[in-house]
């Protein structure tokens, strides 16, 4: 089953293989450089991973790409459009959607409502429409609900549609977050440690889900601690250490990079 979306550009129309290009991104916190001179390119339809030891700047870069922080220097483009400095909501509208490391669902809303919120930026129902309940608004509401149902189905949560998000199991909450992010019709889906806290069984099924999403045309960016998962799933990856990119390439290449080994084993 494909991701139910209305505005997807057919693959045949894609001219440029590069989806996201970041140049020379830097950011300091109170005088400390958390990130400096990082450049990377994410191609359409790939799974791109970002790894590095604790404090390497992964999260800072991730937050810059999703609009939480503004970069002090550098820029990045999505399909050639400059994105640096946009607000998180604008990022989502432009096609970068995300999940959170420490799951941030709308805990007291049902699963389906969570996904419906994700449709916000792709719909336009106004206050007046809501009050009048005109046919256009009703049709849109119906489409939102349909879409949400499909997405729950897609991630395998349809039987929990009306359960409160807070009552879902941990793995299901992760899936729900992905469904909610997919509802915004992202071009790039950014996942912040999606496997954190999962048992091996859940990790395996997550892997299958991520591959399905990629197959259906969404590019994925993930930050991950679990090197095994990363190596098994990603097409390309970059390694950060002390705010700098120390390696980039396909997993086998990166694995054998002495800098990476040093960074991970802590040899000085």
């Amino acid at each position: 089953m494909a991701i139910p979306q209305n505005t997807r550009t057919p693959a045949s129309m894609m001219q440029d293989a590069k989806l996201l290009e970041a140049h020379d991104i830097g950011r300091t916190f109170g005088g400390l450089a958390a990130l400096s001179g990082v450049s990377l390119t994410i191609n359409r339809g790939e799974i791109y991973a970002l790894i590095g030891p604790n404090g390497a700047g992964k999260t800072t870069l991730f937050n810059i790409l999703t609009g939480i922080y503004k970069p002090d220097s550098g820029n990045f483009r999505l399909e050639g459009v400059e994105m640096a400095g946009k607000k998180p909501s604008e990022m989502a509208k432009s096609g970068i959607s995300r999940t959170f490391q420490n799951i941030r669902l709308f805990a007291n809303m049902s699963a389906i409502e969570n996904v419906m919120v994700g449709r916000h930026c792709r719909t336009s129902g106004s206050v007046l429409g809501a009050i009048l309940g005109n046919s256009r608004t009703r049709a849109e509401e119906k489409a939102i609900a349909e879409n949400a149902k499909h997405l729950l189905d897609y991630v395998g949560l349809s039987k929990h549609a009306h359960m409160l998000a807070r009552n879902l199991s941990y793995g299901d909450q992760r899936r729900l977050e992905i469904a909610r992010a997919l509802a915004t019709e992202p071009k790039l889906l950014a996942l912040d440690e999606p496997a954190a806290g999962m048992n091996p069984l859940e990790t395996d099924s997550l892997k299958i889900l991520l591959e399905t999403i990629r197959r259906d045309g969404v590019t994925l960016l993930l930050i991950e601690h679990d090197v095994k998962l990363v190596m098994g799933i990603c097409d390309r990856l970059a390694v950060l250490n002390f705010g700098k990119k120390i390696a980039e390439g396909v997993p086998s290449q990166v694995c054998s990079n002495p800098l990476v080994i040093e960074a991970y084993l802590g040899v000085s």
């Binding site: 916190f29 109170g30 922080y69 503004k70 400095g85």
Partner: protein, 307 residues
């Protein structure tokens, strides 16, 4: 020029009172991240208790400052008890609740305290017996009274004492640890409940002193005197940088001076369009401007990161 000097003195005295009350807000906010809406009303309790004692003793022949001291000794434990009870009953059970909940109970506590005070002390404005000398000293054409000097001096001492308490003692360390990260502080063996209680009690003791000063200085006490005073002091705390002790002092002084100068000169500056009728608005404008342009206040550390 003596008028200007006098306005400056007025502002500093008023500002010292704001500072003292602001210290209480800042302490509690620093530790718990909670605006204790009822803090102004604890000031009122302090004023009322001092006033009651002073009235009882005003004919005893004891010297004025001694009467005031006895009043303060009565007011401090009374306010401490009130502060402790408020924390235990209204705030502690809600420590992990959503932010809205303790804010709403705080408002409730404020209303409750005011009305209890009204039932105990009545609705009339109560006059404070004239126990301190009223003579004034002339300084460069302006006049200063003994109580004005007392107010400024004691709030400075209080601030210095509190500052060194927090910097140099074990208790201060524990308080700072709690403020930084309660979870880690617990792991390090800090009893969070005790620290929070102590903070409240400490803040209430300061409120008692502030209450004593306000009522003795203005010669009047009233059950709803605390709310507006509290709001202004809170503004002062925000202006200086909430959570920051020196900030509370600076913010209080600045707000006092702004109010005095504003009330004194705004009419002339605007050609009579706006005057002292907008005196109560200044604090709120300052508050809004600070929160928009420098949410961390003048001396506060930057919270979060700004682009």
């Amino acid at each position: 020029m003596d008028i200007f000097l006098q306005q400056l003195i007025n502002g500093i005295v008023l500002g010292s009172i704001y500072s003292l009350v602001a210290l209480g807000y800042t302490l509690v906010y620093g530790i718990m991240g909670l605006i204790n809406f009822a803090h102004g009303d604890i000031v009122m309790v302090g004023a009322m208790v001092t006033l009651t004692v002073a009235r009882l003793l005003s004919d005893s022949g004891l010297p004025g400052p001694l009467v005031l001291g006895i009043g303060m000794l009565a007011a401090i434990p009374a306010c401490m008890a009130v502060g402790y009870l408020i924390e235990r009953i209204a705030y502690r059970p809600l420590r992990n609740a959503p932010r809205l909940a303790p804010l709403i109970t705080a408002i409730g506590v404020s209303i409750l305290l005011q009305n209890l005070a009204m039932m105990i002390w009545g609705r009339e404005y109560l006059s404070f017996p004239q126990i301190l000398p009223t003579q004034t000293m002339a300084v460069g054409g302006a006049s200063i009274s003994a109580i004005q000097i007392l107010i400024v001096a004691s709030s400075t001492i209080m601030m210095a004492g509190l500052s060194s308490l927090i910097r140099k003692t074990r208790l201060g360390n524990a308080m700072r640890a709690t403020a930084q990260n309660p979870e880690v502080a617990t792991l390090m063996g800090v009893n969070i409940n005790a620290i929070v209680s102590i903070t409240f009690v400490l803040g209430s003791a300061l409120a008692a002193v502030a209450g004593m000063m306000v009522s003795a200085y203005y010669g009047i006490a009233h059950y709803d005197m605390g709310f507006i005073l509290g709001l202004k002091a809170f503004t002062a705390a925000v202006l200086g940088g909430i959570g920051n002790i020196e900030g509370a002092m600076l913010g209080g002084l600045l707000l006092g001076i702004i109010e005095s100068m504003g009330a004194g000169y705004l009419g002339t500056l605007t050609g009579g369009v706006m005057g002292s009728n907008y005196q109560d608005v200044f604090a709120f404008f300052v508050l809004i401007l600070v929160l928009i342009f420098r949410p961390s206040g003048l001396l506060g550390e930057r919270v979060g990161e700004r682009p």
